[in-house]
Amino acid sequence: MKRLYTHFGDRIFATLLLLLALGVAALALLMAYELYRGGSLALQRFGLLGFALGREWDPVVQKTFGAWPYILGTLIVSFSALLLSFFPALAAAIFAAEYAPRWLAQVINFLLDLMAAVPSVVYGLWGIFVLAPWIRDKVQLPFYMWAAEQAPWLVPILGVPTGYGLMTAVLILASMIIPYTAALARDAIALVPKEHREAAYALGATRWEVMRLAILPLARGGIIAGTFLALARAVGETMAVTMVIGNSHKLPYTLFGGAATMPSVIANEFTEAVEDLHLSALIAVGFLLFLVSMAVNFTAAYVLRRQERLVKGVL
């Protein structure tokens, strides 16, 4: 500490703060360590790579555990949801930051906050009782019938039209992650200096051309960081996905059929896991989830820092 703060009370206060703050740091390290330790039984039995790439997850008969179906499910569901949510989220951000009158922009901001605040189980509840049956009856069944007659080769890709599966999970998840992309994109757009808009206008650009020429290129980093943040949310989202995805880890996954993700298998099987190896395998899935989330978050932070430097260089 600096010489300036030699007061006795200051030292006690700073030390106290430091100890508590170190608790926060310890929590993060503890999470990594405990998840690794808790999963070590399974990780040692199958090897980290063997566990991550193993296709068989059978807690009952063979007692082998491979997390690949869940990793694959997580990747498919998150990236599809991200893809689906990207353009609506960007549109909402552009509209709120640039085109909407102030009151409407405030409404949109409020809705984005609300969307992030609605609990995951409420989305899931709606998914179970409204979306899944609707999709089954109005989308999947008609399409399945058509495919069965006209394009039989499609049937194995479509899978059983139960309503509870990949498609429904992706739709709900896409809606849930919109606020994360939208909020960061909106802030990045709002941070573009006024002079750059005016320069483009002065060049004889229309409103959309100003967006394309001057605003979006400068806001790009923030938009990308927002999508990574949304991806992190999508990867870790548990309840809503668990409630509608059908929880089947039978590969290959189909468009309509059931699937499972890393968080969903933990939520589903944890309280039923009686054997040590099973429990350890689930915690090991948690450890993998930790690694994936960390990688995605670090990427987002890195992109955001570069963006900040770009905008600062301009100002």
Binding site: E198, A199, A205
Partner: protein, 260 residues
């Protein structure tokens, strides 16, 4: 009040700009100001006097500010740019603008920055673009410095180079009038010198209106000068007259440095 040999290119008639209930410029009956073809007109006055507000009225930049309202007329070759049916996008193509801070699009290459305005109007032909970019960069006295790195990002240029790049970008669409809002305020003396030199050659092609808080600069580069104070256009005339025999006491006080 002025010699008849030069003709009026743009002209404001009873121009008043209001921000809500506050009058930004045009106190005392609105601004009537002629801008002569192929001349440099300097707008001077203390900060907050309305000179920038007036400048922005000349290419309808106030359209972008919801609370700003423009009254009166601005004639461009006799046509009122505020008449109904007039499109601001076309006005801004003919009346270009350069800002105080260099606003090169940082993620674009030098070439793309200059070509941006041309691409907007649908010019895709490679040779035409190449020619126009070179002509604009030469016009902005930047060609020799950047001709070997046209494809590198504009963010790699110095502040003075970026400002000349934005001038080139404005020139590329061949405007008739170029509005400059304190174009050297954020530049070092050497870059300032380069831009002042540039103005003298530019007026062969375009009519220039420059806002400056630097009276020496106004005296050096301009043919005509308008003095603004508290939202009022106090006095307008040939630069020499304004700086040597001002009619209004307030102008005299300002140019002799008694305030502002």
């Amino acid at each position: 009040m002025v010699k008849e040999a030069v003709d009026v290119h743009m002209e404001s008639k009873n121009l008043v700009v209001r921000y809500g209930s506050r009058v930004g410029v045009g106190v005392g009956g609105g601004v009537n100001l002629p801008l002569y073809r192929h001349k440099v007109t300097a707008l001077i006055g203390p900060s907050g006097c309305g000179k920038t507000t007036f400048l922005r009225a000349l290419n309808r930049m106030h359209d972008l500010t919801p609370i700003a309202r423009v009254e009166g007329e601005v004639l461009l070759d006799g046509e009122n740019i505020y008449a109904s049916g007039v499109d601001p996008v076309l006005v801004r193509r003919r009346v270009g603008m350069v800002f105080q801070k260099p606003t090169a699009f940082p993620t674009m290459s030098i070439y793309d920055n200059v070509a941006a305005g041309l691409k907007l109007v649908g010019i895709r032909d490679k040779r035409r673009l190449d020619e126009a970019v070179e002509r604009a960069l030469r016009g902005a006295a930047l060609w020799d410095e950047v001709k070997d790195r046209l494809r590198t990002p504009a963010s790699g240029l110095s502040g003075g180079q970026q400002q000349r790049l934005t001038i080139a970008r404005a020139l590329a669409v061949e405007p008739e009038v170029l509005l400059m809002d304190e174009p050297t305020a954020s530049l070092d003396p050497i870059s300032t010198q380069a831009i002042e030199d540039l103005l003298l050659s530019l007026k062969e092609q375009v009519t220039i209106v420059i806002v400056t808080h630097n009276m020496q600069q106004a005296a050096r580069v301009s043919d005509y000068t308008a003095f603004f104070l508290n939202g009022e256009m106090v006095e307008f005339g040939p630069t020499e007259t304004i700086f040597t025999r001002p009619k209004d006491l307030r102008t005299e006080a300002y140019i002799t440095g008694r305030f502002g």
